[in-house]
């Protein structure tokens, strides 16, 4: 497995896309945190939650990066060269998922703590201190959410095999579909409670007592959906012609 991880690590870092994604994620999240802190005015103090304002944008960039890590392989047919070198498709695709997810987690942690630190430096208010487990989850949890989102993106990338299609699905789903579900009469709100990205948001920003899952339960549910998608993608990849 270490050889396969090395293979996918070389692949990922010898193209430009992950580097640009990392720089953009860092720039946007930390930049937005700085802007929020600088322009903040009013009676209510700046909180830890405010410092993570940019994390949603970072999530999208990481999602695109993870999807591209797979779809470009299909586009340039390097997936065939890959399966030629490693006929065990499950293991090499899991290695790819691991490497991409690992990068997503690291980028998530760096950007989240970076954002918080910048906001704290600029504003310095007491509400910006990480005081309880909820505050810590809000910051340190970003990396975990990015990681699960990366698994989701890799899975969709394997299933769709095409950059534009995979990215459209991955961006339209959380931005549009999960919100529109709430508009369905009667069952809409219940359905919305079980949307994966809604649960990712609840893990970070906390839950109300009437919600069906606890914060960590929400993350587990988000991860469960990603795992099911990845499992499906692996079955499909093994069945079809490369």
């Amino acid at each position: 497995m270490t050889a396969l991880l090395a293979t996918e690590r070389i692949k990922l870092f010898t193209t430009r896309s992950p580097w640009w994604s990392m720089i953009m994620t860092l720039g946007i999240t930390v930049g937005l945190a700085g802007m929020v802190a600088l322009t903040h005015a009013g009676d209510r103090p700046l909180t830890v939650e405010h410092s993570q304002f940019g994390s949603q944008f970072g999530l999208m960039i990481i999602t695109v990066m993870a999807a591209l890590a797979v779809t470009t392989e299909y586009r340039f047919a390097t997936i065939r060269t890959t399966f030629q070198a490693v006929p065990n498709r499950t293991s090499i695709l899991l290695a790819k998922t691991a490497v991409v997810t690992g990068l997503a987690v690291v980028v998530g942690e760096i950007t989240a703590f970076g954002s918080w630190a910048v906001a704290k430096l600029i504003d310095g208010g007491p509400e910006l201190s990480i005081r309880d487990s909820g505050d810590l989850r809000m910051v340190a949890g970003v990396g975990l959410v990015y990681g699960v989102a990366a698994v989701m993106a890799v899975a969709v990338g394997i299933l769709v095999r095409q950059s534009a299609g995979a990215i459209s699905i991955l961006l339209i789903w959380p931005l549009l579909a999960e919100n529109l579900v709430g508009l369905i009469p009667r069952v809409g709100d219940d359905l919305r409670n079980w949307m994966p990205y809604v649960n990712a948001g609840r893990f970070l920003n906390g839950v109300d007592p009437e919600m069906p899952l606890s914060a960590w339960g929400a993350l587990a549910y988000f991860a469960g959906v990603a795992a099911v998608l990845l499992g499906t993608a692996l079955v499909v990849a093994n069945r079809r012609d490369a």
Partner: protein
């Protein structure tokens, strides 16, 4: 040793490969010949486990490709030189292949040197010419120092210099005792590179054997004879029931070999100026065998104007 038994591949209702059985012998160059669309690439993808056969089976040294440990050390293949990320350097491309096969990175520089790409090793592969891409693909195939090598149309689109390089390279690989299985629709190319042939048309096996037998069996051999006493020789040959046609100041004799004609002339004291056996070209043999199995036939003699009542279709010559 590559062995295919009853290999079949359907894409929806299209039958790409149809109950194909053949063997590729060890330490020889075997040409895999067929018109475009005959199923050569599909067969090669099935050998490498990329495509799943609808039925039948193909093994390398008795094993399925997917069961090979570190397959690049057993089978090296170049199916398409463009299967490279354009923004990755040649060296990086080979490095990840080496990592996947647990080969030392020093091997990457070795194969880059073998194919002559050392100078451009750190340049992005997307900027490579077809010839350079082909060399990079071959470097990848050689990475694991495999016993078996597969090449799909390696000279396609190459300039004469590139073709010559590939041809010499194939000979070198075979001389090193490797099994080389190379596909082509260019017959003249196969005549110069291959010893054995596997010929397919529309996914079906047409011929398997040596190149020499293929040419001998599939073409009619004629002998061109020139002599100042052509009339007398013609009479003698006709008396023996040999068929011949006049060809300018010579005759073209078919059905008997040059030795028999020479002996007949000597016995009758006829001076010969030329006794020239014409060996049928591979092209002729190929067209004869595959003429009616070409997937997409272009009717070159047909008028492009709307259909005319008669004589508009010119079929390929029958096998």
């Amino acid at each position: 040793m590559i062995e295919a038994t009853g290999l079949t591949k359907h894409y929806g209702r299209t039958v790409a490969v149809d109950n194909l059985s053949f063997g590729v012998g060890e330490g020889r160059v075997t040409g895999f010949l067929g018109p475009n669309g005959a199923g050569k690439s599909t067969t090669m993808r099935m050998i490498l486990g990329l495509d799943r056969p609808t039925s039948g089976d193909v093994r390398i040294d008795g094993e399925h490709y997917r069961d090979l440990k570190r397959p690049l050390t057993t089978v090296g293949a170049l199916l398409d030189a463009k299967w490279v990320h354009p923004n990755r350097s040649a060296r990086a491309h080979l490095r990840w292949l080496a990592a996947a096969s647990k080969l030392p990175y020093s091997r990457v520089d070795e194969v880059l040197d073998i194919v002559g790409l050392t100078a451009v090793a750190n340049k992005r592969a997307g900027g490579f010419s077809l010839g350079m891409s082909q060399r990079l693909g071959i470097a990848g195939a050689l990475l694991g120092d495999p016993r078996v090598l597969l090449f799909d149309e390696p000279v396609n689109g190459l300039d004469p210099e590139g073709i010559l390089w590939i041809r010499r390279f194939m000979h070198r690989l075979a001389a090193e005792g490797r099994t080389v299985f190379v596909s082509s629709h260019l017959l003249s190319e196969m005549a110069q590179t291959a010893q054995d042939l596997v010929v397919i048309g529309r996914g079906k096996l047409i011929y398997q054997g040596t190149v020499d037998d293929f040419i001998a069996n599939a073409t009619e051999n004629t002998v061109v004879v020139r002599s100042p006493e052509l009339d007398r020789l013609t009479e003698l040959l006709r008396a023996d029931g040999v068929s011949l046609v006049a060809d300018g100041d010579a005759i073209r004799v078919s059905g008997v070999d040059s030795a028999a004609i020479g002996e007949l002339a000597a016995a009758n004291k006829i001076v010969l100026h030329e006794l020239n056996p014409q060996i049928g070209s591979l092209e002729e043999a190929f067209i004869q065998l595959t003429g009616d199995t070409v997937e997409y036939t272009a009717h070159t003699d047909q008028h492009t104007a709307p259909a005319e009542p008669a004589g508009a279709t010119e079929e390929a010559p029958p096998a």
